[in-house]
Each structure stands twice: as C-alpha cells, then as structure tokens.
Symmetry: C2
Subunit: 600 residues, 2 copies
C-alpha cells in the first residue's frame, strides 16, 4: 500500500523563505494576528489527518467504489469513508478558512490550500466530498440572501451538511447555454417565493452519499421567462431535505440520485446522475445571472483541481522514490554501486532518476505557484487597499487557467512516470501507482477541460485585454531578472527565464496579429501557448526557489542542496520542451483545418 509523508518542510520553505507570507498576511485586517506557530501547528495536525486518516482508505476505497440502492436512491461510500468524515468534522477541519461570522476559523486560504494538497495526496476521491462542500459554501457566502446564509452557512462551515454544484446535463457540459432544467415559481402556500425545479443533471460529484445528514445542491436552471443561451440561466439552492423554520430537517425534497457513473478513477467519489422532479429550491443571486455566480465557485474550483494534481504528483513521487531505492535490478552502466547486493538499486540508473526528478520538479514548482497564487487570493479577499486588490485580482485571473491546465497535464505526465519506475508492479492495483494515474486523469477534464482553460488564457485573459495582465505579471518577472541578473551564481537560472520571457512576448504578439485575420488561430495555438506560459511561470518560481537555496546553501541543511539540484534539473530537462511548443504554436491553424470534416 502506498505511503504518504506530508511535505511540511517544503511548505514552510515556501511560506517563510520564498513568499515571506507572514508579513503579507498580517497586513490583511482579518489575519493581523496570524503567526508561524499557528500555521505550523495546522500543517502538522492537517498532515496527520491526511496521512493517518484519509490515506489508509484510499486504495480500498478505489477497489470498493460507491454503491447505489436503486429503491431508496441511497448511495453508500466505501468502508471507512463515513468514519473519516466524522473525524474530519470533529477536528473542525471544514471551518479552517471559513468566515468567523458563520462559525469559521478565518485562517488564510494559503493554509487551507496546503491542507487540501495533503488531503489530495492522501485520498483525492474522499477529498471530493468536503471539497465540493467548500465550493458550495463559497457560492452561498458570496451570493446568498440573508435567509439562505442563515439557513446554510453555519451547517456547511461545521461540515454537518455537504454541498454540490449541479451544472452539467447530458446535452451540455462545456456549453452551459444549452442547459434545459426548468424552474417554475411557486405562488401561494408555505413555499410562496420558492421554485419547483425539474431536469436531469449528470456528473454531479458528491450528489448523494452517506457522510452527512443533508446535502445542499446548487443547481443551474432556467426560469420560465429566461432568454435562450447563457443569459437565461439562474442559480438555485436545493436541499436534499427541506429545512423547517426552526432549522431542523423537514420533508425529503424531489432531488435524487438515479445512477452512478463507473469511472476510470476517483472511483470512491460518488459521481451521480441527479434527477430533479419538482424539487423545491430558492433563487441565489439575481434571475438569469446564475452563471456569473457559479463562475466564482468555478474559479476557486479550478485552483482546487490544480491542487489535486499537485497532491497526486507528490504522493506518486514519494512512493516511486521508495521503490527506486529498494528495488535492485541490473548494474549501473558506470560501474557497480552496491557490490554487496546481487544488483544495484534502480535509482542509480539515469532514466529512473529522470522519471523521479520530473515528478519532483513538477510537484515543487506547482506547490510554489499554487501557494503564491492562493496568497494573492488572500490579498484579493482581505486587503483594504483597492490597488493591491486589483493587482491581486489580475494575477489570480491570469494564473488560474495555467494552474488548472499546466499542473494537471504535468500531473498526468508525472504520475505516469512514477508508475513506470515500478515496471510491471506499477500496473497492478496493490501498488497504488496506477490509481494515482487514473485519478489524475479526471483533473484534465472537469471544471473546464484543459482546452477550455487554454482558450480562457489566450483568448480572454491575454488577448482579451491586449496583454495587460500578462504584461503586469511579466513586470514581476522582469524585476526579478533585473535584481538577480547581477549575481554570477544566478545566471544559470536567470538567463533561460529572461530568454523564455522574450519568446513569450514575441509569440503573444504573433498570435494576436494572426487572430485578427482568423479567430481560429487562437484555438489552434492556445494549448501549446498555455504550456509555454506555464513553463515561464515555473521557470520564474524555480528561479526564485533557487535564489533562496543559493543564499542558504552553506547552512549545512541538505534541503537547500536538493532544492538547487532540482532547480537545475528543471531548467536542463523540462523547460526545453518549450522549443518544440513554440514551433507548433507558430505553425498556426492551417494544418488543422485543411482536411474536410467528411475525410476524418
């Protein structure tokens, strides 16, 4: 069974050494009292929950999956899942970064992000249940009426109830404009002002389960007078059990699970077909403005998906390292390394190291980028300085699609590499390695496919504002290059970073010009473009990490030696992928559209 050791040292390195997060956080009114001791204590305890409670039920949960009782529509989660959830609630974990006004602990998002990374390493499927709840909490917190907030937020904060996002329907996933679910106003009676909602939703994570007494569904549907397309979609809150005026649970609502999907991975996460048959709900936010309200959740969720792949990359790496040190097979080509054994441990082989270091560099790069971005999110949510907020908003907007797509693509590459280290043993369920790969695969699809992320980045975030957000982030990189460019020791990192920055600028201009002539040029270049910009971000964060490590390399702490070696690996063996990607991005749309549809 796979093992998991929370990477707390690396999180602390990023928090205190690279990001210098404590002063940043203390400058924000809600976090004025935060200190390293608090953060460290949460990381330690969170790591224990992840490694000791969530991790041990990951492999068994995958083998067992969820089951649906077709008569009662009840869904049972795998053995141990309800107990783990009860411990999670008991430990107060759901409330970590929730609003103190709703009973939350009000701790920074960057800390919650670290906690979720550990949960995702331990058990991505289990983590879907609390993760979706948190998204529902955020949507109601931002858009709910006072009554809705009073009804739901404390229960969600405590974890007593969980939440869902009900968007997708059989005929629409990416294109929510095609949505058909209907909401009819109820006039008169005790439910006056509510709506009866009918329709069919699919791919609803945590849509039904046995972890909590009630489930708070956030449902997209159309009002009777709704305009067609995206502009006629409203958001409703639809509880599994109606709530009595005293807050107690009332009647079972007309929303139930009609089927479970049998999936490639995250098999212990209940992916439900949900049937709404006149389910009673109330409107969240303004009529026809549901998509905008939902997008608040979706942006947070996209960062969360990147974090899922970070978690999987980390845990896959740890287990592959342990295997590579223990498995003996063949001799090193450069001479025997373990003469007392019948063969050398496979970690002596350069390509085994390459597979391991690929995962390591992708995990540590992703962690740096995610923690940086989540700290910006803390600034955005809690700063009282409008200019600082706008700056943070632009940064988060730009980096969100990159985090979602680049980190999940890397997670697929890295978990697969780590599985490869195990040879045939990695293909077998008991190793846990193939599960990491299967679980990682969904992250490239849900919350907007990675193609959609690339269009969001290139079309909306970059070309859509004439490159302003990208230029802002580029200035940040340029300032770092300027400052560190004087250091001899930093040249090996600064030069390729600066070079790639120049190339991104040229590439952006070139695609932007071509897009004037043909909008499909955006779609043709977007995926390659996102990957190039992803590497630019990683190069920036790796250079920043290298800078700290260089400063401390004589401290005697081997952590910095390893960090520097991993940085060098990243620049030598991963970043050069951009040479090919820039070429294919520049190759444009013609080679894609030349063939008539009928000839495919």
């Amino acid at each position: 069974m796979p093992q998991y050791n929370p990477p707390i040292r690396d999180m602390q390195f990023l928090l205190y050494e690279m990001l210098d997060a404590v002063p940043t956080l203390r400058a924000l009114p809600p976090h004025a009292d935060v200190d390293a001791d608090t953060l460290n204590a949460v990381l330690e305890e969170g790591g224990k929950f992840a490694s000791q409670v969530a991790a041990p039920i990951n492999l068994s949960g995958d083998a067992e999956g969820c089951t649906l009782d077709p008569v009662s529509h009840a869904v049972s989660t795998p053995k141990g899942f309800t107990q783990a959830y009860a411990q999670y609630v008991e430990g107060g974990w759901p409330s970590l970064s929730c609003d103190p006004a709703c009973g939350g602990q009000g701790l920074p998002l960057v800390l919650n992000q670290c906690f979720y990374e550990m949960l995702n390493s331990a058990n991505q499927a289990w983590t879907m249940y609390p993760g979706l709840s948190h998204a529902a909490y955020e949507a109601l917190h931002a858009h709910g009426t006072p009554l809705q907030k009073a009804t739901y937020l404390a229960k969600l904060t405590r974890g007593q109830w969980t939440g869902t996002m009900c968007l997708t329907e059989p005929q629409c996933g990416t294109d929510l404009g095609l949505l058909r679910s209907k909401a009819e106003p109820i006039v008169g009676g005790v439910l006056d002002g509510s709506y009866r909602i009918s329709g069919e939703k699919i791919f609803i994570s945590a849509g039904e389960h046995d972890l909590a007494e009630n489930i708070v569904h956030l449902v997209l549907a159309r009002l009777p007078d709704a305009p067609a397309g995206n502009k006629g979609i409203s958001l409703f809150v639809v509880p599994k059990f109606l709530i009595n005026p005293d807050g107690s649970l009332g009647e079972r609502n007309g929303i139930y699970c009609g089927g479970l999907e049998h999936k490639m991975g995250i098999r212990a996460s209940a992916t439900c077909q949900m049937v709404l048959d006149g389910a009673v709900g109330t409107l969240v936010g303004a009529p026809h403005k549901g998509l905008a309200a939902m997008f608040v959740m979706m942006n947070a969720a996209r960062l969360g998906v990147g974090n899922q792949s970070l978690g999987l990359t980390e845990v896959a790496y740890q287990n592959a390292v342990a295997y590579a040190k223990g498995r003996i097979q063949m001799r090193s080509l450069s001479g025997t390394k373990a003469p007392d054994q019948a063969a050398d441990p496979i970690i002596v082989h350069p390509d085994v190291r390459k597979m391991l270091l690929t995962a390591r560099a992708y995990a540590e790069g992703a962690r740096a980028m995610l923690m940086f971005t989540t700290l910006q999110l803390d600034v955005l949510l809690s700063s009282d300085d409008d200019a600082e907020k706008r700056e943070a908003d632009d940064t988060v907007a730009l980096l969100t699609p990159i985090i979602k797509a680049f980190i999940t693509d890397n997670g697929w590459i890295a978990t697969s590499s780590c599985m490869q280290v195990f040879g045939g043993h990695g293909y077998v369920h008991g190793s846990g390695m193939e599960q990491f790969v299967r679980d990682a695969r969904i992250n490239m699809i849900y919350e907007g496919t990675n193609t959609i992320q690339s269009l969001d980045l290139l079309g909306r975030k970059v070309l859509g504002d004439n490159g302003a957000k990208l230029k802002k982030f580029g200035k940040r990189i340029a300032a770092f290059v300027e400052e560190e460019g004087v250091s001899e020791a930093m040249q090996e990192f600064i030069n390729p970073l600066a070079d790639l920055g120049d190339k991104v600028t040229k590439l952006t201009t070139e695609i932007g010009m071509k897009a004037f002539g043909n909008a499909d040029e955006v779609g043709a270049a977007a995926v390659d473009y996102l990957r190039v910009v992803g590497h630019l971000c990683f190069a920036y964060f790796w250079a920043r990490m290298a800078k700290v490590a260089l400063d401390k390399q004589n401290s005697g702490d081997p952590f910095y030696t390893a960090k520097l070696a991993t940085a060098r690996f990243y620049f030598a063996k991963l970043l050069p992928e951009t040479a090919g990607l820039i070429r294919t991005a520049r190759a444009g749309v013609a080679p894609l559209m030349e063939m008539d549809e009928a000839l495919f």
Copy 2:
C-alpha cells in the same frame, strides 16, 4: 459501446502503393505464389472476425475480468471469450503465417501483422491469448528438438493448445540474471532426460484460462550446474498436461496458477502468478543458452507490442471522430458552422482536430513503419539471398526498439487525446475510451520497458556497432531525399526530413563521444534519443506516403487528399517536438546525477 471499422484501405495503400509488397514477397521462395487477391481476401475476412467477433466482447470483458477458482486453480475468462476463441480456431486463424510443414498456411508475416493490428483494435486483452501462443510457436519452431516440434507445433498451429512465456519472477523482471527457478534432471524411469522445475513466476499472460485444452509454457530456469547471472539460464517447455506418447493428454503437470493480478487495464487477459512445483519439462535449445532462445521470441513480441498500440490508437481515433462529428457544443470561433443546430459539432474547434489528427498521424505513421518492418522480417526469414537477409536483419534490429517504445508512447498520448475529445463522457467506462487508455499503458512496460528499449537502441544497436546499422538506414533516407529533392511539391516534406537526419547524425556523434567519458551519458540521453529517431523514422514514412498521395492527388479519390493533409499535420504539429528533445538529450547526465540518493 465503441465501434470498429477495419482500416483495410490504408493497409492496401501501404501494401500496394507505398511498399509495393507483392513483387517483394513473390521474390521470396515461400511466397512465390502470393497475390493481391489472397491478401485482400484475408484482410477482409480478418477484419470481419475482429470487428464482429472480438470487438463486441471487449468492453464487457474489461468490466468482468478473469476469475480464479482457488481450489481447482482454474481460471475463467469473461463471457464470450471461449466462444470467440473457438470461432478463431474454426476459422483457421492461428495458422495464418505458420510453417506449412506444421499445418500452417505459410502466408507472409506482413499479412499476419495487419490481422493482428485489427485484433488489437478490437480487443487487446483477448488477443493476448492467441498472441502469446504464436510467440511460443515461434520459439519452439526455431529452437525445439524434433520430438518437441512433433509434439507441440501442429497443436499450436491449429490453436488447439495455447502457449506462454514464463520469464519474470518477483525479484527479477528487467534483470533476468537474478532468476531463481531451478530445473533438476530426472534420471531413470519414463521421464528420463526430462527435468523437474520449481519456482515462482509472475506476470504470466495467459498462464491459465479456459480457452484451450492444454497450455504450453516456455519456462526459464537454472540447471544445477548453472553459472550465476544471465549465462546460467536455460529454456524449458512445460505443458500444463503431460503428453502421452500417442499425443493424447496425460497427467496434470505441477504448474498451476496461484493468483491473478488486478491490473489497470487488459483486465480480461489473465495475468497469472504461476507456481512450479516439480513440474516436468524438457530442455529447449542448449543448456544455459535459454536467454538467447527467448530473445528470438522477445524481438517478435516487441514488434507485437508496438502493433498493440497501433491497434488501440486506430480504434480510439475512429471513435473520437464519430463523437466529434456528433456532439454539438459551442460555436466555432470563426463563425457559426451549423446554423440549423443549437451549437456546432465539436470537430469545428481547432484543438479538437489537433487531438484527432494526433491520433490519426500516429496511427498511420505506425502502420507504415510496422508494415515496412514486418515485410523486412519476411525477407529476413524467407529470402535466399544472404546479403539481402543481412540487410533486412540490420533494419529489423534497429527498428524493433523504436517500434516498441515510440509507438507505445505515442499510443498513450493518442488514446488519451481521443478520450479527451469526449470530455467527461470519455472518463466513463461505457464509452470505451478510458479502457483504450488503460490498455495502452501496459504496452510501455511489458516486453522490456521503454527505457530498456531506448538503451537497446542507443547503447547496443547504434553505439554498439559504431553507428553502422543507423548509417545503413540513413542511406535509405538519403536516397529518398536525393530522389525526391528535385520535386517542388515534395519540398515541404523533404526539407524537414533531411534536416532532422542531419541533426540525428550530429546528436549521435555527440552522445557517443560523451559516452567514452561516462557510460551513464547513454542512459541519460537514451529515452530522448529514441524519441528523436522515432520521429526521423515517421518523417521518412510520412514523406514516402506523401509522395504517393501527391502523385495520385488528381485521381479524384479523397483518400489521397486526406493522406496529404495528415502528412502536413504531422510535419507541422508533431515532428517539431524534436527541437525540445534534442536539447534535453544534449543536456546530458549531470542534472540527473547531481543529487545524492539520500536527498531524493
């Protein structure tokens, strides 16, 4: 459920238009009478068997898997597998390319290759059973004693019995020198001259099943006087049921299935832990020379594994195309394409086309390379001209590791892309798409991991003979470049091909020089190197296909239009990956070995 339509037109294009295979085959004594009608008839009938018999039980076989009765040690294959196998035997398919002296039809290997591609598209897991049999047939045909041949070959040729390769043990996979199974000579009695073999084997495909009345295991084990390591391994044939002198089945032999692996994919293929408890076997080939005899099988098997990924790539492509034409979602960025529908079919989006064309270009490139190579194998096996045989031998030796690793890596990329076209629907079992991805993953591992293939290519096949085999193949490319370089229309294909050829020459020399100083430089560069050379091969075959298509583009047959468009896509969007790979190959060993093992 996925559909499959055998790509017979493309196979015919390669056989008759690109390879001009009929004259080549007819020059070989055993194939002097072969003609296109025969080949076409086999392709048609083989395609029917694949699409109508093997394909319909692929998805259900994956869901059901195999089961082991722990008392009787019997393994049951999924529903429909035995019936399909019976039809396969009845149709005479096992004998297609077997020696007429053993009851075979003696048809060319290149035809068998096409048939197996179709079987692999239809059902890779089912195809493992006959596939392994054929490998056992080949080993006994090449190395068996007259008595062994008389005992086994006709039964294997008919498919009445199946075969296995029993190599791997828990402590050794790649490094067979660590093998522990023992063979003790039996002296006296009716079994005089036989051996009693004991040990534990793992990952034995088709090690036990209910398709055939007997199973012929080829087992590696050590004789009592065996030297340590690779040079002390002998090959034995160990039947599940001993064979009486009259050829009838005798006593149950002491080899049985102790467990089945639960795997990521090919779940309907029985992957058995085999226990040998004094099982009776006879020696195949010379004592201590078992590995050499087994490598004959392994080389053929490596081509077969490439063919498995070709099959999966093709079928994944076909199903993704059908989905992309039928699924409507969003409008084209360059303007509405299907005004009568609520949205456009997703095939209008450039990145969807990129995912589809990636699979198409990798499938058609792989088919060209595999059919070219298998035709060379026909020459090697059947020519009466020694120079021609040597030439073919060198070509096959060079291309085998590339086919195994490059095509299976591409298969992983391509099946994953095709799954991505389906969005969330591809992650669900019923689509069949995620199964293609899971099945494709094993091909990068078994029959020598892709890292091992890369070391075989760079270390043994290229540097090991001072580049002679590579130069020979390079001459073939240079001749084509020379000949077609005069054509204006061919410039777009010839120039990048010639350019990449030059770069490979330089890269090879550079790595070779560095390897003098440090043998680990080979291991550090090998995987990137193989992928670069793989693209050189694909560029060559795509240029050859483009040449035929250009010559016939005015024929009115849209097949050639599509071939040309796919060739252009390959050169514009896939081949440029080499720019990054050459950089990482050149980055050498230092970034991999800098970090101390303890710091991982």
